[in-house]
């Protein structure tokens, strides 16, 4: 498939700058949880499916893993779920966020940007990205569960949903054979990137 070097070079220059700019505005993370009334497991499932600030990076991660082949997909599946679980437990036990809210935008930008650029990454690098994503968002989820005085069992619902979503989506992307279908995945990545960049702007403006 024909690549577009100008887009890739632009992203290489733009991504680090945007991430640094975002981190210069440390706004407190304000995670929120969904209440279904059906217990903590369902609360956790609903949280992932309804909270775009967690769902979109997960989807972008799954798309990126799928674009990079079955090995990257398998590693992402387990790395993301395990790191999310571990970080969630740690976040719950400490109860302190200590992370700027704008850091969530960085996961949108990095994962959306890499998906849009469709750069071939090594499976290990994809796995590292999955671990970082899991640690970051899992930690924030754990802290939110602690601060809301909910049951930690909700984390099981969150992690299970992530596992299922990543398994289905990355397997679906891996099975794509036609070039134009891969570009549809890249379009989805560009949407995640764009939403993350605008979200960063709203957060900096104080309307996130």
């Amino acid at each position: 498939m024909r690549q577009l070097p100008s887009l890739v070079h632009a992203l290489k220059l733009f991504l680090p700058g945007a991430c640094v700019l975002i981190l210069l505005f440390p706004i407190a993370a304000e995670a929120h949880l969904v209440t279904t009334g059906l217990g903590p497991i369902y609360d956790g499932i609903s949280h992932v499916l309804l909270s775009m600030d967690d769902l979109l990076p997960i989807l972008a991660m799954a798309l990126l893993a799928g674009l990079n082949g079955p090995v990257a997909g398998r590693r992402t599946l387990f790395a993301l779920s395990c790191s999310w679980l571990i970080a969630g437990l740690l976040g719950y036990s400490t109860g302190v966020s200590a992370l700027p809210g704008t850091i969530v935008c960085a996961s949108f930008l990095v994962l959306g940007g890499l998906t849009a650029a469709d750069r071939r990454l090594t499976p290990n690098l994809v796995m590292v990205l999955a671990v970082v994503l899991g640690l970051l968002h899992g930690w924030l989820n754990g802290v939110a569960i602690f601060q809301a005085q909910r049951e930690i069992l909700g984390l099981a619902g969150i992690v299970t949903t992530i596992f299922v979503l990543v398994a289905i989506l990355s397997a679906g992307v891996i099975s794509l054979r036609k070039d134009w279908m891969r570009i549809v995945v890249r379009v989805a990545g560009s949407w995640v990137f764009a939403s993350g960049l605008l979200m960063a702007g709203w957060m900096i403006k104080g309307q996130g």
Binding site: L4, W191, L198
Partner: protein, 204 residues
């Protein structure tokens, strides 16, 4: 072979269960998360509320369809990212001169490209589209009503813009036929005329 069958429904038991459930009904404690879904709907609605934006977005799709692969997909990848960059600049309070003029010129130029069936190199096409995307993002990306979710508004905005590109690409499929090619060029000319009107309005 194992046979599957449905057990007959016990209508008395079902009725009794329904009455029991209704008798012990608990009032619903629904709560509204202010501005969540509304933000998404507002974002979806916003790009289609301005004809200048709509014309330019559809023209991007039409032009992509004329250019063929891979431009037909590259333009919709580049556009939302640069549009978000424009919105980001607006949110940071960085001014952009002549936003309305830029949007009008984008409709005019893109319409002109479609009307001429211009086929520059992929890089030039992407640069043209990406440059004007900044103006569209700056003008429309920052108009969040108070109390609504910024992320969902942005997501709706980006999705609606992508759908407008998609509409343009689908219309552009008529490019396969000779009559369709002529029709596309005529619609490009109509978009360009619209752009001239918007430019006149912006300058007036």
């Amino acid at each position: 072979m194992k046979r599957f069958y449905c057990r007959p429904v016990n209508s008395k038991a079902t009725l009794l269960t329904i009455i029991l459930l209704l008798a012990t009904a608990i009032p619903a404690f629904a709560h509204v998360q202010q501005g969540q879904a509304q933000g998404f709907i507002t974002g979806l609605h916003h790009p289609v509320s301005g004809l200048d934006h709509v014309l330019a977005m559809i023209a991007v799709g039409l032009w992509g369809a004329q250019l063929g692969l891979p431009a037909v997909w590259m333009l919709p990848v580049a556009f939302p990212m640069m549009m978000a960059f424009g919105g980001f600049l607006g949110l940071l309070g960085l001014p952009l001169l002549g936003v309305e003029i830029g949007i009008a010129i984008s409709a005019m130029l893109l319409g002109f490209m479609v009307a001429r069936e211009a086929k520059p190199s992929l890089y030039i096409a992407v640069i043209i589209v990406a440059f004007f995307a900044i103006f569209h993002g700056h003008a429309h990306g920052t108009e969040l009503p108070p109390g609504q979710s910024g992320l969902l508004y942005s997501l709706g905005f980006v999705v609606a813009t992508g759908c407008l590109h998609g509409i343009g690409i689908v219309i552009g499929l008529i490019h396969k036929w000779q009559a369709g090619r002529i029709l596309l060029r005529v619609s490009g000319a109509a978009v360009a005329m619209g752009g001239i009107y918007f430019l006149w309005s912006a300058l007036a």
